[in-house]
C-alpha cells in the first residue's frame, strides 16, 4: 500500500519537475513558458479532433506499457516491445489485405488474434532462451528488434504481392472489412484517426489486472518474479512462467501494433527504425509505477504532451523539441526516484528532529530530577 502511494508521489513529482525544467529552458531561450504551456494544452484539447488524436496516441502506449509491466512483474526487462509490435502490425495488415472479401465479423477477431499471437511468439523466443539457457532477455530482445524491423521491411518490399501494394514502400489501405475505425467516432472527432482500438486498450487494462492479481497464473508470475527460489520450492515452474509471462508481454505489444495497422494507419510502410511505441511504452510503464491505473494516467500524460507539442510552434513559437525535453526529464526523474525519496526522507527527518529536540528538552528536565532521586537511593 505504501509502496503504491510512494510510486504515485514519485510520478507526480516527476511530472511536475519535468514541466518546471521545460519552463526554465523556455525562459532561458527567451520564450514565455506560460504561453508555451497554454499553447500545448490548447493543441491537445482545443477541438474534438485534438482529443481524438490524443486518444489515438494513447492506445498503443497503454498496450505496450501493460506488456512491459507484465514482463517486469515476472522479473524480466522486455526491451523488444517495438519489434513485437511490428510483428503484429505487419502480420495483421498482410493478412487483412490478403483476404479482402472476408466478412468483418470474421476478419477483425482473427486479425486481432493473429497480430497478438505474432507478438507473443516474437517475445516467447527470448523468454524460452532465457529459461532454457539463461540467455539475457535484455540482449536478445534488443537484437530481435533489428531482426523484426528488417524482416518486416523485407516482407513489404520483396515478399508481398504487387497487387496489395501502392508502391514499393507502402501497402494499400486495408478494406472496410478489416478497419477498426468507426464512423461515429471519426465523425465525433472531426476526422481524427481514432478507432475502436482505444476500447480494446481500456478493456485490456481490466483483463491484465484480473490475470495478474486474481488468477493462479498471475500469482505464479508474481511469485517467480519476486523470488524464483521460493517459487521453485512451492512447485512452480520458473521456466514455464518465464515463457508465459514473456508471451503475454509480447502479445500485448503485438496487439498494439495490430491496432496501429488496422486502426490508426490502415496500412504498413517502410520503417526507418523500430516504432517509437515500444520505447515510449516502457517510459509510460515506468511513470505508471507498476500500477495498472497508473499506466492509463501515464499514457494520457505522454499523449497530451506529444499531441500538444505538435501545436506549440504554431501558436507560441516554442519549438516542438521542447516537449521531448519535458518527457525526457520526466523519465529522468522517475529513474531518479531514489533522489526524490531521499529528499522526502530528509524533509521527514528534519521534522522528526525538531520534534525530538523538543521532546529531549522535556525529558532532560524530568531525567535530571530522577537522577537525583537515584543517587539519593544509593
Amino acid at each position: 500500500m505504501t509502496a503504491q502511494k510512494n510510486s504515485f508521489s514519485v510520478a507526480l513529482f516527476s511530472v511536475l519537475f519535468g514541466l518546471i525544467i521545460g519552463a526554465v529552458i523556455m525562459l532561458v531561450f527567451g520564450y514565455n513558458p506560460i504561453s508555451g504551456y497554454v499553447a500545448l494544452l490548447g493543441s491537445a484539447f482545443g477541438s474534438m479532433q485534438d482529443i481524438g488524436s490524443v486518444l489515438t496516441q494513447m492506445t498503443p502506449l497503454i498496450l505496450t506499457a501493460l506488456g512491459f509491466t507484465v514482463a517486469q512483474t515476472a522479473g524480466f526487462f522486455n526491451i523488444g516491445l517495438s519489434g513485437q509490435a511490428l510483428a503484429g502490425w505487419v502480420g495483421a495488415v498482410w493478412y487483412a489485405l490478403s483476404f479482402p472479401d472476408m466478412p468483418a465479423y470474421l476478419m477483425i477477431p482473427s486479425a486481432l488474434i493473429l497480430g497478438t499471437g505474432l507478438g507473443a511468439l516474437a517475445s516467447a523466443i527470448p523468454g524460452w532462451l532465457r529459461a532454457q539457457f539463461g540467455a539475457s532477455e535484455v540482449i536478445v530482445t534488443i537484437m530481435m528488434n533489428y531482426i523484426l524491423l528488417f524482416l518486416g521491411n523485407n516482407i513489404l518490399q520483396n515478399t508481398m504481392a504487387k497487387g496489395i501494394k501502392d508502391s514499393a514502400e507502402t501497402t494499400k489501405q486495408v478494406g472496410a472489412n478489416a478497419s477498426l475505425q468507426m464512423k461515429w467516432l471519426t465523425d465525433l472527432t472531426q476526422g481524427s484517426s481514432i478507432s475502436a482500438g482505444i476500447f480494446i486498450a481500456l478493456l485490456m487494462i481490466v483483463v491484465v489486472w484480473f490475470i495478474m492479481t486474481k488468477t493462479t497464473l498471475g500469482f505464479e508470475i508474481r511469485a517467480v518474479g519476486l523470488n524464483a527460489d521460493a517459487a521453485k520450492y512451492a512447485g512452480m515452474s520458473a521456466k514455464r512462467n518465464a515463457v508465459v509471462a514473456m508471451a503475454i508481454s509480447g502479445g500485448l505489444a503485438g496487439l498494439a501494433g495490430t491496432i496501429e495497422g488496422l486502426g490508426n494507419y490502415l496500412n504498413f510502410f517502410t520503417q526507418n527504425g523500430s516504432p517509437a511505441i515500444g520505447f515510449d511504452g516502457m517510459a509510460v510503464a515506468l511513470l505508471g509505477g507498476g500500477s495498472y491505473l497508473g499506466v492509463l494516467a501515464a499514457a494520457a500524460i505522454f499523449s497530451v504532451l506529444k499531441i500538444g507539442g505538435l501545436g506549440m510552434p504554431m501558436s507560441s513559437g516554442v519549438p516542438f523539441e521542447l516537449v521531448d525535453i519535458v518527457t525526457a526529464s520526466i523519465i529522468f526523474f522517475v529513474g531518479a526516484s531514489y533522489l526524490i525519496q531521499l529528499i522526502q526522507k530528509r524533509v521527514q527527518a528534519m521534522d522528526e528532529k525538531a520534534a525530538q529536540t523538543a521532546a529531549a528538552k522535556k525529558a532532560a528536565k524530568v531525567g535530571s530530577a530522577t537522577d537525583k532521586n537515584q543517587k539519593g537511593g544509593e
Binding site: 486474481k214 488468477t215 493462479t216 497464473l217 500469482f219 508474481r222 511469485a223 519476486l226 523470488n227 527460489d229 521460493a230 517459487a231 521453485k232 520450492y233 512451492a234 512447485g235 512452480m236 515452474s237 525530538q356 521532546a359 529531549a360 525529558a363 532532560a364 531525567g367 530522577t370 537522577d371 544509593e378
Partner: protein, 518 residues
Amino acid sequence: MTESTPVIEMRHIVKKFGDFAANDDINLQVQQGEIHALLGENGAGKSTLMNILTGLLQPTSGEILINGQQVSVDSPSKSDALGIGMVHQHFMLIDAFTVTENIILGSEVTKGLSLDTKSAAKKIQALSEQYGLQVDPYAKISDISVGQQQRVEILKTLYRGADILIFDEPTAVLTPQEIDELITILHNLAKEGKSIILITHKLDEIRAAADTVTVIRAGKSIDTFPVAGVSSQALADLMVGREVSFKTTKADAVTGETVLSIDNLEVHDARGVAAVKDFSLAVKAGEIVGIAGIDGNGQTELIQGITGLTKVQSGRVVLQGQEITNKKPRQITEAGVGHIPEDRLRFGMEVEMTLSENLALQTYYKSPLSRHGVLQTDEMDKLANQLVKEFDVRSAGIQVLAGSMSGGNQQKAVIARELNRDNELVIAAQPTRGLDVGAIEYIHQRLIAQRNAGKAVLVVSFELDEILNLSDRIAVINAGKIVGIVDAKDTNKQELGLLMTGMSLSDARAALKEEVDA
C-alpha cells in the same frame, strides 16, 4: 553495585520508530574487565541498543557515558574512536586475502608506495599471543576454520585499539568445541582489562562466560544481576516473562513402517562436487530422526535432493514405497512431504507477498483456494485466519507483507503452512535458527506433536541441544557421509561433537572414556 566508574553507562535510552518504542528506558552499566551479557528475545531491543552504542542509530532520548564522560556517538567512526569494537555475527572478511590484509583493510600502513604488511603482521602476532588467539597472520581466510575467522574479527577490533568489545550472537556458527575455546578467549580478554558485551539468547553460554547479565524484555531493561548461582530456568523465565519449559517432554517413540528410505544417495553442490555421497538412512512413522553436523557438510544438498530442488546424481529416495527420486518439487510435495526449509527468506516465503498469500503458497492451485484458475481470495483469507490462530502467528493482520514480520513469526507461518497439509513426512531444516526460547519451545512442541500423531519427522540442525531434545535417533553427518547413527538416549554433546568432526563412533567412545579415566 561496585563503586568504580563504569566503562559504559547507558542511561534511560529510548529509541522510537514512529509510535513503536524499540528501546523504552533501558539502563546498562558495564564495568572494566567484565563480561556483561545482554539477554533478550528476538525483537526485545538488544540490536537497537547496540546500534545506538556503535553510532548506527541515534537515541530518541537518554545519554551515554564512556568512562564517566558523557559522549554523543553520532557515527560509527565516533564509536571506533571511543574504543568500541563489534564482532558481527556474519563475518566481514575477504576470502582471498590473508589475515593481516583483512585486518589492516581500511587503515593500511604504507612504506613508500607499497603496503607495510610486515610490521602489521608482527603487531597482529603479538596481539594474538597476548590473548591466546592462535591465529597465523599470513594464513589465507579461505584456508582457516570458521572459529579462526571469528578470531580474525576479534583481532580486527583489538588492532584498532578497542577496549570495549561487543559480540553479537558469537556462537551461532561454531561447533561445541569451538564454543568452549571462544569462552576461554573471552575470559582472556576480560583478564587483560577489556570490557565485553555479549549479545545472546543462549542461556548455557551466559552461565559459562558472563559475570553479569542484563535482561531486556519488550524494550525495557528488566534487571541486572551477577550470573553466579542463577539457573538457566530462572534466566529463561525472566527473559520471556513467563515460565518456559526447555526440555519438551515426550513419550517413547511408537514407530511404525518406514516412511522415508534413502539409499546410496549422491548429490552434487553448485560447483559439481559431491556434497552428499553414499548416504543411506531410513525414517519410520512416529519417530524423529535428527541429522547432526557442522554447517556445510552436505546437509543443505541432502535436503534439496530429497525435496527435488536439486538433481540427485545417483541413489534412490523412496516415500512409502513410491519412488520420488528426481521428481519435481510439486510432485514430491503432493506425495506427502512437508518441507520447512533451511533458509526461510530465500526458499520458505515470498517476503514481498502478503502473509495470506504465503500461507497459500503450496495449495493456491487447488480447490478451495482457486477455481478454474481464478484465485478465491476469500478462501485464502479464511485459511490464513485459521492458521494464524491455530499456530499463534503474530502480525498486524494477514494482509501485511511477510517480510515485515519478525523472524519467529515468519517461521511459525512457514511451519503452519507445512504442517497443515497432513503430510506423512515432515522435513525441518534449522527449524529454530535465530529464534528465542519461547518460539523454540513452541516449534519443538509442534514437531513432537507431529511425531506423536504417527508421522515421520526428519530434523537437520547445527544446534546439538535441539537435536538432542527433539530426536529419537541421531544420524551424524560429516563430509556428506553418515559417520554414525546413535540413539538419542545413549549419547551426549561431547560424543556428538567428536562424531561431527569425522571421528568414528568407536574412536569417539574410546576417546571420551580415556578422558574420564584421566
